[in-house]
Amino acid sequence: MRIDLEPRAGRSRIAEWVAPVGALIAAMLIGGLLVAALGKSPVQAFFVYFVDPLTEAWSLQELAVKATPLVMIAVGLSFCFRANLWNIGAEGQFIIGGAMGGWIALLTHDGVGQSVLGSWWIVPAMLAFGAFCGLLYALIPALLRVWLGVSEILTSLMLVYIAQLFLDYMVRGPWRDPKGFNFPVTVNFDPVATLPMLAPGGRLHAGVALALIVALAAALVMARSLFGYEVRLVGSAPRAARFAGFSESKLTLAVFAISGALAGLAGICEVAGQIGQLQPSISPGYGFTAIIVAFLGRLSPIGILVAGLVLALTYIGGESAQVTMKLPFYLTGAFQGLLLMCVLAADVFTRYRLVIQTGRRA
């Protein structure tokens, strides 16, 4: 018996969008088996994970808040992945963005430096500096690849741990709140250093709107601009891209800069909009989950908006499953990984047909 993958003659537009939905269903079924193996009801788990969070106003808001960093990061990553460049270190760029943007909040704490200009500039400066530092941090693997041919996959991944330890050190050392009873956290940010809310009393901060704007702008750039064309061409036919006169090195730097900046922006939005201070850990793995979001959204900014909500659902559902069903939180991570595998497999099947040849041939 021989198993072959034969390229399909044509690729239908419908299949391209049915595939991720099918992948989601497949992942749910396999996840159900996992839940059953843990001795719990898969049906109940399905409702806790995917239905209950959609039934209440507060959890819908929570959904948007959780989807915000995922969407921002994934939109940036889609530029890299489209160009066949693998930035696996968005988690690190997210942390650096949050830490360095947050640093401005610490520097201006208690009205410091606001005597001349006032305080209006603090939030924009935090956002800009967070994005800028995420950009610089992402340029490290990009430059290593361009100059020395080092695999960006490894370097970007390893820089995540450096970023985590950097933040951990800072909040335990130089940035620790002196009046914080020795807890490893910074002071709470001043109101002038936190993102405004979209509606009073709600949970939606300005970052949610920012994520929406980022996705729409990215959709326009990807579909209509020459830069978007360049990104798609380099990923689809690198030799043709060289023939078109596009420089692979410049493009590598550009897409890493974009994804780093957006991850950094997501980081500072999370810190200034959600957490309100710096602490040893500011991300439950958004930078990694965003990789799944990017693929589930078919590397298209609009698809990513939807996929971001789906993955945000697993975070919220996972938290309540932990409480109501005593399911381990790691199950959420396992499910997310499962989902990525299913999405990638579905992608293969939209491009190839599985042919199983037995000993006898027609």
Binding site: Y229, A240, A244, G245, R361
Partner: protein, 518 residues
């Protein structure tokens, strides 16, 4: 259908291979349609047809690579269903592919040993190679690493691999496409001996002169069907071509009296080190092409053609800006886009993945080489409407056949995609055109259209460099011909005043007194 002229003793003899009613379908596409074919021991049988006529599909079925949808293949009178090439080889069927499967870093003997059963000792292989080489009268050093060998020598390795199995039927797929005229001559000698030993040869080609010279019978395929079986010696090259394409092939016409303008391309002592270990470095290349002139660059594959194209197109920039001048402007250090802005256009050899992005639509592929033009992009944004209009005019001017309004490039046949790519560049009315293998793997009608378009462009005053491994093509359209060999370009000679033999010797590197030639 023309009747098969089978000789009397053949009619009496049982054919070695008898193919009856073989059909192969891929989805809705019928690659082979009800094929009948007999192969006899001791004959050299040509399988003629254009690209896409179904030749490869047919031989793949004979060699066990794919299974027929319908019909039977009989071997010595008994029906066989070959599951894989191993079974075909066990019967005594050998095949020499057009593209060699050799490991460049291994020696000749090691490459041959890889195709032998594991029980064979590597120590005995060099002797067996020498045996076969001396029996068929060719030279092959068992200890040479493959990357030091010419294409002709590499092909001999593949032939030796087959002969070690002592095949009754040897299939050769376009064996001369990578050879010099002299190397091809040597191959014909080997083939004559093989036939003399009573082996059957199935010789796939679209080079008609060659088939007329060495083949006893020819089966012509068109659109997957057998349209004729004939004695090629009794046919003219023209009548065979007409059988292949199903209509008379148009002659390409050059303007009666060509007038040349000023110098538009000048290359002076261009040096370019090889990009990688197996690449070719260009050494002091010089050329000068005037407006209205077509310069042909002949040469065997792998002698620096792609490197020369990359240097001229700007994909590989030279260190010295003055080494290349277009219309007097030094462009040697410029990239592709800057050279295009100087009204130069380029068509690389490989259509899919180099000249065009296979998964992109035709209109998106227009943007590929024309994004630097005003109108196609505006302040960083692509005007896809304009790109679609341009695609439309290329498609109608160059008769590009396609399915759907704006299909992906990969859905086009080779000839149609090549017409599109050539049209994309020529419709710009470039002053300089560099084109590599303009009609490689393209059907005869499309090839004639492309050559005519090149000549017409030159007649309108452009300077054209055509790099090609097809000598017929170069003699047909060039004003002057130069030969590239191991990264050096010979002096260009007027096409009317140089013979094929002279060009052949230059291609082999023997005429220049080059000490490194083997």
């Amino acid at each position: 259908m023309i009747e098969a002229p089978v000789s009397k003793d053949q009619a009496a003899a049982e054919p070695l291979v008898r193919i009856r009613g073989v059909t192969k379908r891929f989805g809705s596409f019928t690659a082979n349609d009800n094929i009948d074919l007999d192969l006899f021991a001791g004959e050299n049988h040509a399988l003629l047809g254009e690209n896409g006529a179904g030749k490869s599909t047919l031989v793949k079925m004979i060699y066990g690579l794919i299974a027929p949808t319908e019909g039977t293949i009989l071997w010595r009178g008994a029906a066989v269903a070959l599951k894989n090439p191993e079974e075909a080889r066990a019967l005594g069927i050998g095949m020499v592919f057009q593209h060699f499967s050799l490991f460049d870093n291994l020696t000749v003997a090691e490459n041959v040993a890889l195709s032998l059963p594991r029980t064979e000792s590597l120590k005995t292989v060099p002797d067996r190679i020498s045996d076969i080489a001396s029996r068929y009268g060719f030279a092959l050093e068992p200890d040479r690493p493959v990357w030091t060998l010419s294409a002709g020598q590499r092909q001999r390795i593949e032939i030796v691999r087959c002969l070690l199995q002592d095949p009754h039927l040897l299939i050769l797929d376009e064996p001369t496409s990578v050879l010099t005229p002299q190397e091809a001559e040597a191959l014909f000698g080997v083939l004559d001996r093989l036939r003399g030993e009573g082996r059957a040869l199935l010789y796939i080609s679209h080079k008609l002169d060659e088939v007329k010279r060495i083949c006893d019978r020819a089966t012509v395929l068109r659109h997957g069907k057998v349209v004729a079986t004939c004695n090629p010696r009794e046919e003219s090259a023209r009548s065979l071509a007409a059988l292949m394409v199903g209509s008379q092939v148009k002659d390409v016409k050059a303007a009666a009296d060509r007038t040349y303008g000023g110098e538009r391309i000048r290359v002076d002592g261009l040096n370019l080190p090889a990009g990688d270990m197996h690449g070719v470095s260009l050494q002091s290349i010089s050329m000068s092409v005037r407006g209205g002139e077509v310069l042909g660059v002949a040469g065997i594959a792998g002698n620096g053609q792609s490197e020369l194209f990359a240097a001229l197109s700007g994909e590989a920039a030279a260190r010295d800006a003055n080494a290349i001048r277009f219309d007097g402007g030094a462009v040697g250090a410029d990239g592709v886009t800057q050279r295009r802005r100087r009204n130069a256009a380029f068509v690389p050899e490989e259509r899919n993945g180099h000249a065009a992005a296979p998964d992109f639509s035709l209109s998106e592929n227009v943007v590929l080489s024309r994004h630097a033009e005003s109108g196609v992009t505006r302040s960083g944004f692509v005007d896809y409407g304009r790109a679609q209009n341009l695609a439309g005019s290329i498609i109608s001017s160059y008769d590009v056949r396609k399915a759907g309004p704006d299909p992906a490039a990969r859905t086009l046949s080779g000839g149609n995609l090549q017409k599109f790519v050539v049209g994309r560049e020529i419709l710009r009315e470039p002053g300089v055109l560099i084109i590599d293998q303009p009609t490689w793997g393209v059907d005869a009608a499309a090839a004639a259209a492309i050559r005519q378009a090149i000549l017409d462009l030159a007649a309108r005053g452009a300077a054209v460099v055509v790099i090609s491994q097809d000598l017929d093509e170069l003699f047909e359209i060039s004003d002057r011909i130069a030969v590239i060999h191991m990264g050096r370009l010979s002096e260009a000679k007027p096409a009317g005043a140089v013979t094929r033999e002279e060009i052949g010797l230059l291609m082999a590197g023997t005429a220049s007194g080059d000490a490194r030639a083997h």
